[in-house]
């Protein structure tokens, strides 16, 4: 009897967690970033080497390269060489033909080599990303999202608080009850990092690679230390976004994927009941 009552009685509390602009921006971004990543890998395939400084071509020292030998594929970072046959540098395409482009066809737009098409997708969706991010930043700033949800409060800056949140994440102890309605400190760090650091960095380093925009804003070349440095930072920041995406997905899966995804569609989030409420 008690068990049935316990199951039936505590009504799960629903909170309006994500406002409309956040939800729209989130899904536009999800699609846009995927297209930008895959078309970006196609563009990278045209010259799979990264340099620091103002110039860099085949004869110059590349700090990062994806390449192939007659039998293997490899990734080289500095002096370290990692064999990646089958995935990077040398792989088999969908028709069973061996290819030596850096990134395999399943990871690029389009699936077979076309720099022109990769650029077309990339440079169109760069506009989508930039316009959407600008609008979202303005809304976050003036619509209260930044102050209400992302602002890191004084108490949260303490190392003890941050360390406790790291431990909670590591033990997969996620906040329940009212605490689940708010972002925790690691969430705030990562969302602020993505919105205000990584995405703007992608746009600025992208613009730095444009010879036309260099004439408009030569200070970008100085800011990033040259076009090839900007290209390297573009690649590193993209890798950081991929890492964010992977952690983000794992967290959604662990925190209850149906509730999390639903809240990002409808806005409404069901608060997980407090632990001490359970028997």
């Amino acid at each position: 009897m008690d068990e049935i009552a316990a199951l039936a009685s505590p009504p799960t509390k629903r909170v309006y967690r994500h406002r409309m602009p956040t939800r729209i921006w989130h899904w536009v971004n999800a699609v846009t970033l995927l297209i930008l990543l895959m078309s970006g890998l196609m563009i990278f395939n045209a010259h799979p080497r990264l340099y620091w400084g103002q110039y860099g071509a085949n004869a110059d020292h590349a700090w990062f390269a994806i390449g192939s030998t007659p039998q293997t594929g490899f990734v080289r970072i500095g002096r370290a060489r990692i064999e990646t046959t089958g995935v990077l540098g040398r792989w088999t395409d969908a028709r069973g033909v061996e290819q030596t482009w850096a990134f395999p066809g399943w990871a690029t737009i389009p699936t077979s080599y076309s720099l022109a098409d990769g650029r077309r997708w990339h440079l169109f969706f760069a506009w989508v990303l930039s316009v959407a991010l600008t609008l979202y930043m303005l809304w976050a700033l003036f619509g209260g999202h930044l102050a209400k949800d992302l602002h890191i409060r004084r108490g949260e800056w303490s190392l003890r608080h941050i360390w406790r949140d790291i431990k909670d994440h590591a033990r997969l102890r996620f906040p329940r009850g009212e605490a689940a309605a708010r972002y925790n400190i690691l969430q705030k760090f990562s969302y602020i990092g993505v919105i205000f650091i990584l995405l703007p960095l992608m746009i600025l380093t992208g613009l730095t690679m444009s010879p036309g925009f260099n004439a408009t804003a030569p200070w970008l070349l100085d800011l990033f230390g040259g076009r090839q440095s900007a290209r390297s930072v573009h690649f590193i920041a993209a890798s950081a976004l991929v890492l964010f995406f992977l952690v983000h997905i794992v967290m959604v899966l662990l925190a209850g994927p149906v509730n999390e995804v639903r809240s990002m569609i409808t806005g409404w989030f069901r608060l997980p009941p407090e632990r001490n409420a359970a028997p």
Binding site: Y55, A59, T84, P211, A215, R227
Partner: protein, 259 residues
């Protein structure tokens, strides 16, 4: 050692193959079908128009590409595309050091010109150390010398209805001669020069001897090499496939290559 590596390599290859085979295959071909759809291509090409107009709006007509110092020169200036034009004509010119090479300036001009390399070198010259950005991603810095294109066009006298400048080249790729084009904003830009020298030496054949275009605010494929004719036109429609350049016609590279 190899005993350890080989099975793992096979394992990774097999895993990669499985990913490609299971489920991903129809999805990927679906993606490629979207990529080929004319309506999608039309929408995506709006990006180029937006880039061109926003850069034109933000950038002064004469805003300069960054110029560097001799300390910044690439140790090796990479060459790309055609490294030696085929055919006996070009070989004969190369054998005589391009002594008889002439550049025709035609089209919508008041006085069509036929310039020898000696005449090109006798004009007032501009020397600039600039960065070339290949569409593929690499960059090289070199020092270029030659007359400004604006001077050549002024000598020929551009007519009022001239809108674009077409550059015709001596190198044939496959079935057609290479060509490029630009609008008057870039043609009359102070850094747009017809270069005959690279790094204080006569332009090497691999880099476009005897004369090439430098159009510093655009990507490398716009910098036509082996130029033998400069033509002022009102429209690009009747030239090549009408998209304004060799690669633009063939594989849809952007005509506006400032990004």
């Amino acid at each position: 050692m190899s005993g350890l590596i080989l099975p793992r390599r096979r394992l990774i290859a097999r895993a990669g193959g499985l990913v490609a085979a299971a489920g991903a295959l129809p999805l990927l071909s679906g993606c490629d079908a979207i990529n080929e759809a004319p309506a999608v291509r039309k929408i995506l090409s709006m990006g180029e128009v937006m880039h061109q107009h926003s850069q034109r709006a933000l950038t002064d007509r004469d805003a300069l590409a960054r110029e560097f110092t001799r300390a910044d020169l690439s140790p090796v200036f990479r060459s790309n595309g055609t490294k030696l034009p085929s055919g006996g004509d070009y070989a004969a010119h190369a054998a005589t050091g391009f002594a008889d090479w002439r550049i025709q300036v035609t089209g919508l001009v008041a006085h069509p010109l036929s310039l020898s390399m000696a005449e090109i070198r006798a004009m007032p010259q501009r020397t600039q150390i600039t960065r070339q950005d290949c569409v593929e991603g690499w960059s090289a810095i070199g020092q270029w010398t030659g007359p400004q294109l604006s001077r050549i066009l002024a000598a020929a006298g551009l007519r009022d209805n001239a809108r674009y400048i077409v550059f015709r080249c001596a190198d044939r790729i496959g079935d057609a001669l290479y060509y490029e084009s630009c609008d008057l904003v870039d043609a009359l830009h102070p850094q747009t020069i017809m270069a005959w020298a690279l790094n204080d030496a006569v332009l090497p054949i691999a880099n476009g001897a005897p004369l090439r275009l430098r159009i510093e605010r655009q990507l490398g494929y716009k910098h036509a090499k082996y130029v033998n004719a400069i033509e002022a036109v009102a429209s690009l429609d009747a030239i090549g496939a009408g998209k304004g350049g060799y690669w633009e016609d063939r594989i849809d590279y952007e005509w506006y290559a400032g990004i």
